[in-house]
């Protein structure tokens, strides 16, 4: 069963990389957001796998899963605010392009 | 390959098939029942031509729907267009797999069944939303947007209502709600929070399944038929199918929450197993061996299931009654009701439950953990 745990960490790495790539290349802010969610989930997967790996009768830890829960909470909060920001942007500009949100530079 | 079809797997397959059959039949006859009941309320006759008292009407409807010409909009997103009704229906069916209908009569015993229940009800919402969007047409699109907002708004209240029995039993397993109604655990003070919780749950489940008075996603006067305007034939029939089964599932949940599940505890006497005393012995006695477990509608299973079904139909009748009685809400009324009234009310309820359980204590059922443990074994042992 060790295979599955180790493989899950590899899978987590892959998912994280895919998410990173998505963030790099996309223009639509919502998609970028989704890619970030994917990255967070990759981290969660790794945490759960590590927890499974380290769990033993002597050390009945569940910290990995609890961290994963907290990450989900943070993700939820982030989504709420992020989507609200995007909606606010949509209301003011007909087109939403991440490259157009650069007031700070101008 | 042989070891794949272990008795447990066969058991599951047989039970699943049985459940799907029963549910489909139930759906068919629920449409009939609803039409008759509505016509009774509205002082007219309803379907009474096909067969005695129109009893064969559902069959005829089914044949008609299946044979109708299928039309797909040209601009539709084809994959999603086909996926949407399937998603709705399968989510509803899966929901029912989580709900025990009698003692030992359930497809599964998941330790976190209630959360799954909530998740599946939002999965069904995916179907409705995608149906509207994939049609690429104005009315379905508006319908699906309405569905989306409505489901998100009312899901909160739905989940929070379920927290009340969870807090009392200390378990996320629906089976353990029954423990609450065993006479040794029951306390009439639970009703103080359980009754309002169940009623609020009923209200939000009306909204969640899109039934009157919250059937805004398919409001004829404004958006024709809402998200399924562009659907026809069997794909159309899958939406009402999913809706009805979801309704049954929600009613079953209310039964588990408030009406004592499959128990028959009248306070002074517990009639739960009264029928089991005279039916035949355990399934093994019938000579079916281990496979006999597949249809364990005997003994305790039989009496409890019957109890449950009676209560279930009481609830379903209530749903229909509400449909016949209440007018439809306006959209802003719906939102205001959901956010400003229902949600605060459920939060207050949760506080009350916390206080109540602190005073009289939660259910101390030894079975709470053993049931969870059984479920854990299923998930854990399967690995080896």
């Amino acid at each position: 069963m060790i295979d599955m745990v180790v493989n899950s960490v590899w899978l987590a790495g892959l998912m994280f990389a895919i998410g990173t790539l998505g963030v790099m290349i996309h223009r639509h802010p919502v998609i970028i957001f989704m890619c970030i969610e994917l990255m967070l989930n990759a981290a969660n997967l790794a945490l759960v796998a590590f927890n499974r790996h380290h769990f033993s009768p002597a050390w009945r830890t569940m910290d990995g899963q609890i961290y994963a829960f907290l990450i989900i909470v943070i993700a939820a909060a982030e989504v709420a605010v992020g989507l609200a920001i995007i909606v606010a942007l949509f209301k003011h500009r007909t087109r939403v392009d991440i490259d157009e949100i650069n007031f700070l530079k101008r | 390959m042989a070891e794949i079809f272990t008795p447990q797997v066969v058991n599951l397959i047989v039970r699943g098939g049985l459940m799907i059959f029963v549910l489909l039949t139930t759906f068919a006859y629920l449409t009939y029942t609803e039409r008759r009941i509505l016509s009774f309320f509205q002082w007219r006759l309803g379907p009474n031509r096909v067969g005695p008292q129109g009893l064969l009407q559902p069959l005829a409807d089914g044949v008609k729907t299946a044979l109708k010409q299928e039309m797909v909009p040209r601009k539709a997103d084809k994959v999603l267009y086909f996926l949407a009704p399937t998603l709705t229906l399968s989510a509803s069916f899966t929901t029912f797999a989580l709900i025990p209908v009698g003692e030992q009569v359930a497809l599964s015993s998941v330790p976190v069944a209630i959360l799954f229940f909530l998740g599946l009800s939002s999965m069904a919402a995916y179907g409705l939303i995608l149906a509207g969007w994939s049609s690429q047409s104005k009315y379905p699109f508006l319908g699906s947007l309405r569905t989306c907002a409505q489901v998100i708004s009312y899901e909160l209240a739905l989940g929070l209502c379920l927290l009340v029995p969870i807090m009392i039993t200390g378990s996320l397993n629906i089976n353990d709600f029954g423990m609450m109604y065993r006479s040794e655990n029951w306390n009439w003070a639970y009703l103080v929070v359980l009754a309002p919780a169940a009623i609020l749950f009923l209200i939000s489940s009306l909204a969640e399944t899109g039934r009157t008075p919250f059937d805004l996603p398919e409001c004829e006067a404004e958006i024709v038929a809402g998200y399924h305007t562009e659907y026809s034939s069997m794909k159309y029939a899958m939406f009402p199918m999913g809706e009805y089964i979801a309704m049954v599932a929600m009613s079953a949940m209310v039964v588990h929450m408030l009406l004592g599940g499959y128990h028959m505890n009248l306070g002074f006497v517990d009639l739960t197993y009264w029928a089991g005393t005279w039916t035949a012995g355990p399934p093994e006695a019938w000579g079916w061996g281990a496979y006999g477990d597949a249809i364990s509608l005997t003994g305790k299973g039989f009496s409890t299931t019957m109890t449950f079904i009676v209560k279930l139909f009481l609830l379903i009748f209530t749903f229909m009654w509400i449909r016949a009685t209440f007018p439809r809400l306006r959209y802003d009324q719906l939102m205001r009701f959901g956010w400003k009234w229902l949600l605060p009310a459920t939060l207050v309820l949760i506080f009350a439950t916390a206080i109540l359980t602190a005073i009289i204590g939660p259910v101390q059922a030894p079975a709470v953990d053993s049931a969870a443990q059984a479920a854990m074994e299923v998930t854990l042992n399967a690995r080896h």
Partner: protein, 726 residues
């Protein structure tokens, strides 16, 4: 046991909270004022209950120190197994019981007085907030079971004093007076802090060495119980320095010579404040502290002598200044300083209970005098200068008679309170048996001369104010025609205090020559363990038998003293009669000597009072400036308060101001600002350099972020792989 004693502190705190937070909401001066008074009444009732409870229990020896547990305040885990554990607890012992009785009682009366006195003031709720808070702090100071608690109270009363001196803060002068008091007290606090630290260090070391893990070097009970043992092994220099540093703190709080300058200025506050804080209670906390830690002062005769010298010197100096002041409150303020000097004189010669005795009697008559002066000021519509008074007796009879009684009491006229306490101090100085015996006789004459002056200046201010021709200003006459007597809430406290000024001395102490045998001294007996000096401490150190053996030597029988109280009586009694060999007047016995001395001082006081009466009634006119002409430079020296303020100003204040302004110009402006601005400039330049990197495109930032992350990962992997290889 005495858990309800907390109520005593709780009442004024509640009053302060209500008046402080809701005072503006209530917006009713009557309610605010009487609420504060009622809280103090509750406090006083609690104090009485504690007193009777304490008496009825008949506690003996070490039991007389009762700790009332509160809650854990500070708990620090130390390096070793012992750790610092400080409770917020009360210590009920004879000293604290005595103090709390008269503090709550007089506070109650003064609160009551203030409801009328301050009734025209807008800030009345604020006033009662401070006043209640002050009482709570004072009670914490005297009831605190350990040094940190006492320090909390010490600073708390300082704060309240500051707030109340500057109560009318819109006037810059008042605010300055408050600051002066605060800053002067800081000097004293420096001393007391060092003294307390040294006590902690010495006692903690002793406890550690002897493995007394239960004892705490901050707890009064533990300190006092082990004081004799610790002090016997402590080096004399340490003991001297502890005593001197502590005394510096006491000087600050109790306005003794180097640090006395703030008290006369503190008269800027409302008169009830002067009565309560700057005459009756707070200023005596120095005496309290010295008495509380009396073993430390008794340990070394040098320290006692220095305390006595400072006390007598201050008493003399303040009395000379008081002779020439014209402001009625200023005279009383210097009189307070002078009387505090007497108390320290008593402390210095080891007669702690006499010091406390004088604290009590002084609290009564000085509070009465201040309140009387307040009544006069009230009646004269904010006129404080005695040159513009005169002839008030006719219009303010109650104030006049209470004032006269208190004047007689402070002058030491038989049989008023001041006579007993002051004479006992003089007697104790006279019989002080130490290596400084010769100098002590000088102190005696100094104190006696001060008593003479006291009678004169008190008579001066009294007659000047109340008798003679009216010298009211034309403006006053035009506006108000004549002064008026105050209302009941003001006169009742006056009458009560005057009564106490008459009887309190005789109740608490009667000297031997009056009883015809052993002196009757209930206060001394009551205070045995707390203010008995080393002998008092022995009451619990080794049981009564051991103590008797120590004192009597020849007849050491355990059966002799059944109880410690009796033993204490023996100790005190012998202190009078047998064991000291004081100077004898006319070759007579001790009793006759004491009697003759007492009559002598009463005679002197009477003569002075009559003299001043002659001088300041009849055709007295301040415009003639007769005294000024007669005494010339001496008058100026006294009138200008020995030029001490000017000396401080030139030696300390001006150089300080100059130094700070230089420090500001050099360090703050050039160095610190220069560094800050320089950093900002450098960073700004750097920012200009890096600016092009900021494209404003989020995806670019993402790329940078990723590149950085990859770089870190590479470095990490590099070191990891290297580490794995080796």
């Amino acid at each position: 046991m005495f858990g309800y004693a907390w109520l005593m502190i709780a009442f004024p705190l509640i009053g302060a909270a209500i008046n402080g937070f809701l005072g503006k909401k209530i917006n009713n001066k009557k309610i605010s004022g009487w609420l504060g008074t009622a809280m103090l009444a509750g406090s006083f009732a609690t104090a009485l209950a504690v007193f009777f409870d304490y008496q009825s229990r008949g506690l003996q020896g070490a039991e007389r120190f009762v700790e009332v547990p509160g809650w854990t305040w500070i708990a620090i885990q130390g390096m070793s197994e012992r750790y610092l554990h400080i409770d917020f607890a009360l210590l009920i012992d004879p000293l604290s019981v005595t103090m709390m009785l008269f503090i709550t009682g007089i506070s109650m009366l003064i609160h009551m007085y203030s409801t009328e006195y301050m009734s025209h003031d807008e800030g009345l709720p604020r006033f009662f907030t401070y006043l209640n808070l002050f009482v709570a702090m004072m009670l914490i100071l005297i009831l605190g079971a350990n040094i940190p608690m006492m320090f909390v109270g010490w600073e708390g009363v300082g704060l309240c004093s500051y707030l109340l001196i500057g109560f009318w803060y819109r006037n810059m002068e008042n605010a300055k007076c408050g600051m002066k008091a605060f800053i002067t007290n800081r000097v004293g606090d420096f001393g007391i802090l060092i003294g307390l630290f040294m006590i902690f260090q010495q006692f903690d070391a002793y406890f550690r060495m002897h493995g007394m893990t239960e004892a705490s070097a901050l707890d009064f009970k533990d300190i006092l119980l082990n004081a004799n043992a610790v002090l016997s092994v402590m080096s004399p220099a340490d003991a001297l320095f502890i005593a001197l540093f502590l005394f510096l703190g006491a000087c600050g709080k109790s306005a003794q010579f180097p640090l006395h300058i703030w008290l006369p200025d503190a008269m800027a506050g409302p008169t009830p404040v002067s009565a309560l804080i700057h005459a009756a209670t707070m200023v005596t906390s120095g005496v309290y502290m010295v008495t509380r830690l009396n073993p430390v002062f008794s340990a070394n005769e040098t320290s006692g002598f220095i305390v006595a010298c400072i006390g007598a010197g201050t008493a003399f100096m303040a009395a000379t200044i008081a002779l020439t002041q014209n402001d009625i409150k200023k005279v009383l303020a210097y009189s307070t300083v002078s009387q505090l000097g007497y108390m320290f004189l008593a402390c210095g010669v080891g007669a702690y209970w006499v010091a406390i005795f004088h604290v009590i009697t002084h609290a009564f008559f000085k509070a009465c005098l201040f309140l009387g002066s307040g009544s006069v000021i009230h009646g004269m519509h904010e006129e404080q200068d005695t040159r513009h008074m005169g002839g008030l007796a006719k219009y303010m009879p109650i104030t006049y008679w209470t004032f006269v009684i208190s004047t007689f009491a402070i002058a030491g006229i038989f049989p008023l309170a001041g006579f007993f306490s002051k004479d006992e101090i003089l007697w104790q100085v006279a019989i002080w048996d130490s290596q400084f015996k010769g100098a002590a006789s000088f102190l005696y004459w100094l104190a006696l001369f001060t008593a003479l002056m006291t009678a004169f200046y008190m008579g001066r201010v009294t007659w000047k104010t109340f008798l003679g021709k009216p010298r009211w200003t034309a403006e006053f006459k035009k506006k108000h025609h004549h002064p008026h007597e105050s209302h009941l809430p003001m006169t009742i406290p006056l009458m009560v205090l005057a009564t106490m000024a008459v009887i309190s001395g005789a109740i608490l102490f009667t000297p031997g020559w009056m009883t015809g045998g052993e002196p009757r001294e209930p206060l001394a007996h009551f205070l045995d363990v707390s203010a008995g000096g080393p002998e008092g401490l022995m009451l619990y150190a080794g049981g009564t038998g051991a103590m008797d053996a120590q004192i009597h030597g020849e007849h050491a029988e355990p059966a002799h003293g059944e109880d410690a109280g009796h033993g204490a009586e023996e100790a005190q009694g012998d202190g009078h009669a047998a064991h000291h060999e004081p100077f004898m007047l006319l070759g007579g016995s001790v009793t006759s000597t004491e009697m003759i001395m007492a009559f002598g001082s009463v005679l002197i006081a009477l003569i002075m009072l009559i003299l001043s009466n002659r001088r300041y009634t009849g055709d007295y006119d301040p415009k003639k400036k007769a005294a000024q002409k007669a005494f010339g430079p001496l008058y100026a020296f006294s009138y200008n308060k020995w030029y001490i303020d000017e000396i401080y100003n030139n030696i300390l204040v001006r150089p300080g101001v100059w130094l700070s302004s230089k420090a500001w110009q050099i360090f703050d402006v050039r160095l610190i600002d220069g560094i800050v601005n320089g950093v900002a400039k450098v960073l700004g330049a750097l920012g200009e350099l890096i600016r092009p990197v900021q494209t404003g495109f989020v995806r670019n930032y993402m790329l940078y972020l990723l590149a950085g992350a990859v770089m870190f990962m590479l470095i990490n992997m590099w070191s990891y792989l290297l580490g794995g290889a080796s």
